[in-house]
């Protein structure tokens, strides 16, 4: 066999070389209310201090009412393979009294990345300079034991049409096994009923079965693995960065409570390993490819179709790169609220001024009346004097 080969079979190896030299890019967004352990999770996942825990000071600035986008870039290296990792955090999400439209910032960000990529692609020289398309969004669910809140549902719905969404139950070490089971079932029911499309590992039924028939055990185990992952969804996670002795002499990443040690990488304690497998070990490429082939394509198609349908100008020179979508400033509900407040202020001011004018006017009217009276008096006086003069003149004659 070796003698007859011409080297075509070497193609995968060539590809491997290219890829390993070029490295990879992975963009991940974490999303959820503050205090759910997003930062800790990121650091646990990559096993470094990728993101600094926010200094307490920043949180204690006057309470902000907006959702921010916070980008952390890092290059990770494992076995000489370089990986550029972008982590996008969304501080302020869900922290306010009024969280209506809090998802707008996230959705806009994801769309903006698709848009910027698309426009770079349409340039004559299309070497893409930066690509921040979000490959996966981790949505952190608060471990209430109740279910999903309307905010969760609305946000997840919107994200799921734009990027790969993986919901995770944060801080699952506050739920007992039974509670967690009920909670998971409930979340799954809601996700299904509300038609939220979360990312699931590809389950090629036909392929898998035929391959299994062909005794390809590798595929069968992969399918089994995927099935296990899907069953465990939404993943319950525990994050920690400190290591403790687990009682058998080995140091493990864990959280130490007075009542026990929660091992992060223990499948009986949480689903962290499953999630990591989904995110990095097994399905990283799937995530990236789905983003490119599904979400980006959908966005691109909708944009191109939509702008052709709407704008006649864009239709005229469709060869030109598309303009950025006209995103009005006022689309943000926060601005709307501000606008309303300003309007109210304006009307109040106008009213006050009006009042003042009325006062003036009244004064003027009073003054006029007074002057009229004076005039009358003077005129009558004049008349009297004239009469007097006349009578005197008569007398004189």
């Amino acid at each position: 066999m070796t003698t007859s080969s011409v080297g075509i079979a070497n193609l995968p190896n060539q590809r491997y070389k290219i890829v390993s030299e070029r490295g990879g890019t992975f963009t991940m967004m974490v999303c959820g209310e503050s205090g759910l352990g997003k930062t800790t999770f990121i650091n646990t996942l990559f096993q470094t201090t990728l993101k600094q825990v926010d200094p307490q000071q920043r949180r204690h600035q006057p309470l902000k009412k907006t959702v921010d986008i916070d980008l952390t870039r890092a290059v990770l290296e494992e076995k000489n393979f370089k990986m550029r990792v972008n982590v996008i955090d969304t501080p302020g999400f869900g922290d306010n009294v009024n969280n209506n439209k809090a998802w707008q910032t996230l959705v806009d960000f994801i769309d903006d990345q698709h848009d910027s990529y698309m426009r770079q692609e349409q340039q004559p020289h299309r070497d893409v300079k930066f690509d921040l398309r979000v490959h996966v969004v981790l949505y952190f669910i608060k471990p209430t034991g109740h279910g999903l809140k309307p905010l969760d549902i609305e946000t997840m719905k919107r994200i799921s049409t734009r990027a790969n969404l993986i919901p995770v139950i944060a801080k699952s070490d506050t739920l007992t096994l039974q509670e967690l089971q009920i909670f998971k079932t409930r979340i799954r029911q809601v996700i299904e009923a509300q038609e939220i499309h979360i990312f699931t590992p590809p389950l090629d039924f036909e392929n898998g079965e035929s391959a299994a028939a062909g005794a390809s055990t590798q595929d069968a185990t992969a399918a089994e693995h995927a099935r296990q992952l899907i069953e465990a969804m939404p993943f319950a996670i525990v994050g920690s960065t400190s290591k403790f002795d687990n009682g058998q002499g080995t140091q493990v990443v864990a959280r130490k409570y007075p009542w026990g040690l929660v091992e992060v990488e223990n499948d009986n304690h949480c689903d962290f390993r499953k999630l990591r497998s989904m995110l990095l070990r097994t399905y990283l490429l799937d995530l990236i490819i789905t983003t490119q082939e599904l979400h980006y394509e959908t966005y691109r198609r909708l944009r191109l179709e939509g702008s052709n349908g709407n704008d006649d100008n864009a239709n005229a020179d469709s060869s030109m790169p598309l303009k950025a979508p006209a995103r009005k400033l006022s689309h943000n509900p926060k601005y709307k609220e501000e606008e309303n407040a300003l309007k109210k202020y304006f009307t109040d001011q106008v009213k006050a001024e009006e009042q003042r004018f009325r006062q003036w006017e009244q004064n003027i009217v009073n003054e006029r009346m007074r002057l009229n009276g004076d005039l009358e008096d003077i005129q009558s006086k004049v008349k009297k004097l004239e009469d007097q003069v006349r009578s005197l003149q008569l007398k004189k004659r």
Partner: protein
């Protein structure tokens, strides 16, 4: 129990014989463990979990008796549809729940509770409690009115929630106030003022959030607020210490008026001061609650990595909190509510009410701009008139003044084509009325009538010589009326709003459902067509139709490629 005259020995004795009425309110984001806490507090499983109603293992401790079962006392929601204790329905999970306040009245025979609690490992606090608690003396029962709030944090916009809570608390004050000022008092009047509110802080590890600060600040006007850290089992020991500190910092930073354990140096004995110091050091209390009992009947939380008992003093302050609530500080909370918060409220309210009724001018001012415009308009023309004066009238009118100097001013202006002063007045009033909602108009009318009565009462009083006494009498006659009236109007307004909203929401839902039905029908037809084609035509045509459906589904931005039916996979596996 009786009309709350300033606390005297007499009253206390009487109270003791009958038992103590005591209202506790639990406030906190949903899912922070309020219901579990309520159950743990009375060591029973009385309160069903909102999200777990199927598991009804109703159990009640022998010391506890339910006097009045749980009922909804206040409710508000944006879409006007009550959500409390509705079956879990994933299809409706995206709807906002609004807020519901429920009340349950329990009778707790405290004497037994004491001994039972005493069995638990004793802390320094406990020791003090035994010595100075009034509960150990003679009274045996507490009538506990437990108020629970549902739905905070479940809405997209939570501002509705704290408005509802504060208005409920204010209402209780109003009820007491109107009862107090009444001449003939109701002997079976029930005091429903809330003596203490426990605020459940979520275990974020970061400090207070905007919602926490806002609610605590607002509620603190009407009741004592005691912040507690819910689900403290989310923290390792150091983290908990840090979290407590950052909460204390935040409380100071945002000036949240929470209840602090400060002993009066003058009259309290040494033990009490020491006790308060210990408690102050523990604040904010961190609690762990659970529904599970172990074999010994103790509540535990069983994790795969270990089991903890919720009454373990080292881990949770639940025991301490219980003692503070039912033991050492029960009377303290009641007194603060009565003597400080309620008195302040009463002063504010009465001074505002009496000011409005005694000064006739204030009457007009309260009626809003409408009356003031009406009063003044006889003299001053409106703005539109003024504009005409500037544009055209000025020259003319000056002319007219010069011409008809001898004539009277009114006829002169009429000759100059200006509107008579009465017309703008009428217009103005119509405009302002049209701008208001019909409900507001109605309530304004009612209020007008109301104040007329008050005024007439007032006039009668003035004719009398003993003004002082009559005024007092007047207050006692009018104040309950005014208060009740205001309350009725507020409630009426709220109900009408709710009705309108719910009608709107229902309409919307109907439309949605119709839309859905329509879509489904379309899809069904498409599928039928497809099936017919598929059976007839070759593989190629089948492919074609597949492509067409695919494009349709894609245009709805559905990702059938990645979306696999989660539940079906799981269920088939099982």
């Amino acid at each position: 129990m009786d009309s709350p005259v300033p606390s005297s020995l007499f009253r206390r004795k009487k109270d003791n014989r009958r038992g103590i009425t005591y209202s506790v309110m639990l406030i906190g984001a949903s899912g922070s463990g309020k219901t579990s806490f309520a159950n743990n507090l009375v060591e029973s499983s009385i309160f069903p979990h909102e999200y777990n109603q199927s598991r009804q293992d109703y159990a009640i401790s022998p010391r506890v008796r339910v006097l009045k079962p749980t009922k909804v006392v206040s409710f508000n929601s944006k879409n006007g549809i009550p959500s409390y204790m509705t079956e879990f329905d994933p299809d409706r999970a995206h709807l906002e729940s609004g807020i519901t306040i429920t009340s349950t009245t329990l009778e707790i025979s405290a004497g037994d509770a004491q001994s039972a609690e005493g069995a638990a490992p004793s802390s320094p606090v406990k020791g003090h409690r035994r010595s100075n608690s009034i509960m150990d003396e003679e009274e045996d029962t507490i009538f506990l009115n437990l108020l629970n709030t549902h739905g905070i944090g479940e809405n997209l916009d939570d501002s509705l929630c704290f408005d509802e809570i504060t208005s409920y608390l204010e209402q209780q004050f109003d009820i007491v106030l109107s009862e107090e000022t009444r001449i003939r008092r109701n002997p079976r009047f029930e005091d429903t003022r809330v003596h203490i509110a426990l605020y459940f802080i979520e275990p974020t590890g970061h400090g207070l959030r905007e919602l926490d600060v806002e609610i605590m600040k607002r509620v603190a006007r009407y009741t004592n607020v005691l912040p507690v850290i819910a689900k403290a089992d989310a923290f390792a020991r150091d983290e908990l210490k840090q979290f407590k500190q950052s909460i204390l910092n935040d409380i100071e930073r945002y000036n949240v008026p929470v209840y602090t354990f400060e002993g009066d140096d003058d009259d309290d004995d040494m033990e009490a001061i020491e006790e308060n110091q210990v408690l102050a050091g523990l604040q904010p209390f961190s609690i762990i609650t659970s529904d599970e009992r172990n074999d010994e009947g103790k509540y535990v939380r069983a994790y795969p990595w270990g089991t903890l008992r919720i009454d373990d003093e080292k881990l949770s302050d639940l025991g301490v909190l219980k003692n503070v609530l039912f033991g050492s500080h029960l009377q303290e909370f009641k007194d603060t509510t009565q003597n400080l918060l309620y008195e302040n409220y009463r002063t504010d309210k009465l001074s505002s009410v009496t000011k409005n009724t005694s000064v006739p001018v204030a009457n007009g001012a309260k009626n809003g701009g409408m009356a003031t415009i009406g009063n003044r308009d006889s003299a001053a023309p409106s703005l539109s008139n003024f504009a005409s004066l500037i544009n055209t009238g000025h020259f003319k009118s000056s002319q007219s003044i010069a011409l008809n100097a001898g004539g009277d001013g009114a006829s002169a202006s009429a000759a100059a084509g200006m509107q008579p002063p009465s017309t703008p007045h009428v217009n103005e009033q119509d405009d302002s009325k049209a701008g208001e909602s019909p409900i507001k108009q109605m309530s304004d009318e009612i209020r007008n009538g109301n104040e007329e009565i008050i005024k007439s009462i007032k006039k009668e009083a003035q004719s009398n010589d003993t003004i002082e006494r009559n005024q007092l009498r007047n207050i006692s006659e009018t104040v309950p009326y005014v208060l009740r009236h205001e309350r009725i109007i507020a409630r009426q307004q709220k109900l009408e709003e709710l009705e309108a909203q719910s009608a709107k929401e229902l309409q919307k839902r109907i439309q949605e459902l119709e839309q859905k039905a329509h879509d489904l029908k379309l899809r069904e037809r498409l599928l039928k067509q497809q099936a017919a084609e598929g059976s007839k035509a070759s593989l190629q045509s089948d492919n074609k139709s597949f492509v067409s459906t695919r494009s349709i589904s894609q245009s709805q931005m559905k990702k059938n490629d990645t979306y696999t039916d989660l539940a079906s996979i799981v269920s088939t596996k099982e």
